[in-house]
Each structure stands twice: as C-alpha cells, then as structure tokens.
Amino acid sequence: MHSHVGQGEVVLERILILLLFLIGFAGIVGMRNIIKKIFGLTIINSAVVLLFIVEGSRIGNSAPIIDAEIGLVVDPVPQALMLTAIVIGVCVTALALALAFRLYKAYGSFDIDEIHRQVHRES
C-alpha cells in the first residue's frame, strides 16, 4: 500500500499529524469556549489514532484479514488498540459535552473564564 510512498512524503505525513496534534492541544489550552476545548480533545485523540494506524500500516500491503491470496498484512495490533482508544475517546467526549450542557444551564455561558468567575463568586 505504501511501498511507492517516498521518504519525503513519509516525513511530511508525520509532520502533518504532529501539526494536527498541536492544533488540537492549542485549542484545549487556548480556547475559552468549552465546546471548542472539547473539539481540541477530540482532535488530539484523532491525531494519535492516525499516528498509530498510519505508522503501523507501513510494514505490509494488505488489510489484516487472512485470505487465500496471502501477502504481508499490516500490523493488526495498532488497529485493535485504536479501536479501543476511539470508543473510549467518544465516550469521554459524550460525557464532556453533557457536562458542558449542564454548565451552560447553570451559568448561561460556555466561556471558561466566565464560569470560573461565577463559581469563584459562589464559594
């Protein structure tokens, strides 16, 4: 699958995945809207999933399903691990969104600083 991919393109892929991660991380840290923070969490999760799948698929050229015509399959372990990681990521996102919903109902804002201010005033 990847045998024709040149070394330069491989490096470019890695750099793009890293950039994706950093964009997500900057979103988590820098965005004031908590929904955007949750987006950031989803993005960094996807970046790591991509990294596992892309890097793990360089050693073979067919899907990890044993057929009659047998070539070298890609590494199935990262795929199975990422299946778990994706489901866990989705679950955490769902819970985070539910919490954001409640925070919005309680404080009328998605702005983390505003919520912090109101919580601080309460206590």
């Binding site: 991660f21 990890p64 044993i66 590494d75 372990v77 299946l83 769902a94 919903f101």
Partner: protein
C-alpha cells in the same frame, strides 16, 4: 494589571505550553525507527488457528485482548449512564437513575417541534430504519471475516433505532424504541457479556479464555457470540442515549 497586559501574558503562557509539548513530541511523532514485526509475524502465522477469526483485528480485540474490550464496554456503559443522568435532571443527578422524570427543567420537549420534524423526515427515516438495522446486524455478525464487529455494528444498529424513533408518528413509539426495552436489552447484554467472559473457567482456559478452544468446537463461535452480545449492548445503549437526548426519555 491591565486587560491588554493580561491578554499578552495569557498568550505567552499558551505559546510556552504548545512549544514545550511540541519539543517533547517531535522525537516521538517524527521517529523513523523501523516498525517492529514480531506481533504481525506471529499473528499472520498463528492468529487464524488460535482464534478462528480471519479478521486479525477481531482476533485481537475479542480473543487475545478481550479483557481490554471488556474495559472499553464498561467505559461506554458508564459514559451512557453518566451522560443521561447529567443531562436528564437538574437535581440529584444520579439518585434517580435512568428514570427521566417528565416535566423537569430539561428541554428539549418530548416531541420535536414541528419545524424540524417534517413529513419527509418521518417517511424517509421510518422506511430507512429497518434497512439500517439489517445492515447493522450484518456488520455485527460478520466481524470475524470482514471489517466490522460488535462496536461498529452496534453503532449502526443504534442509528437504525434512532431512525425508527424519528420515523414513528408522534408518541406511537414501537417497542424497539421504547427506553424501557432498550435499558433491558443493554443490562441483559452486559450480564451476558460477563458470563461469556467467565465461561472460560469451566473449560479450564481461565477468565477471558476461549471456552471452545479445548472442547473440540471451532473457536470462532466464541468470537461470533461476543460480537453479537457487544453489538446488542452498544446498539441498545447508544440508541437509548440518542433517544433520551431527543427528549423522549419516558
């Protein structure tokens, strides 16, 4: 401190944060170490014989590493009950469990407003629902042979359930989309999954072992069973969550 100075300080902190993380991650993300072959080679040689599944990903997540999958199912279970409990009511969040009391502060209302719920939506989703359900069952049951499996099939089943719920006329919800039944399916499937996971003790292969491996039966039957159970559980759980979010909690 003025607002402007504070803003600059804030941005400087963010930049520092991202730069530090980038510095740490560059060697990891850009590493060009050769990818290890040991697991792939082992699985390509023995995976089919040991687990019975020709889809090696299924062989790992329902065979070799089924314990991780149990953990993942549990995360999903907790997320669903937690999400519903947090969204559902404003008072004691967990105290009343799934029972979403009607008339709480939580909108949206029981029925979608007429604007979003057009005739077209009802007709299309109602007709499409059963097809999606069948496709979900296919993805679920053929996970050992082709891409798919319990989680993927379960998600498709959940969307089929949501289609059916959207398509049914106001309050004429059928028994598949009623929250009571979905909760029953989910909890029964969870109990079955635990039983299946423990069934290995009887045949001597221990927890999460394949009980059929020693019994002379084809070991793939165990993976199919687990796929079916997980598919039911995920489908019912996610379907219930979506229906609850649609405001049809009770």
């Amino acid at each position: 401190m003025s607002g402007r100075a504070r803003r600059i300080l804030f941005l400087a902190q963010i930049a520092l944060c991202v730069l530090l993380v980038a510095a740490v991650l560059i060697p990891v993300f850009l590493s060009s170490m050769p990818w290890p072959l040991s697991a792939r080679d082992y699985l390509q040689a023995n995976g089919l014989a040991e687990s019975g599944a020709s889809n090696l990903v299924s062989a790992i997540y329902l065979g070799y590493r089924a314990f991780d999958t149990l953990g993942e199912t549990i995360v999903l279970l907790v997320a669903i009950s937690g999400t519903i409990a947090i969204i559902a009511h404003g008072g004691a969040v967990l105290a009343q469990g799934y029972g979403l009391p009607s008339g709480t502060a939580s909108e949206p209302a029981r029925h979608l407003p007429p604007k979003t719920r057009t005739e077209l939506l009802e007709v299309v989703t109602g007709k499409l629902g059963p097809v999606v359900l069948v496709f979900g069952v296919y993805v679920m049951m053929y996970g050992h042979l082709s891409p798919g499996g319990g989680f993927q099939g379960g998600v498709v089943i959940a969307s089929g359930i949501v289609f059916l719920a959207l398509g049914s006329r106001v309050d004429a919800s059928n028994s598949l989309t009623s929250p009571e039944n979905l909760v029953r399916i989910e909890s029964a499937a969870f109990a079955l999954l635990l039983l299946a996971a423990s069934s290995g003790i009887i045949s001597g292969s221990g927890f999460f072992g394949n009980p059929l491996a020693g019994a002379g039966l084809t070991p793939v039957a165990f993976i199919i069973t687990l796929n079916a159970i997980i598919g039911l559980k995920v489908g019912a759980g996610l379907g219930f969550m979506c229906i609850a979010m649609l405001g049809r909690g009770k």
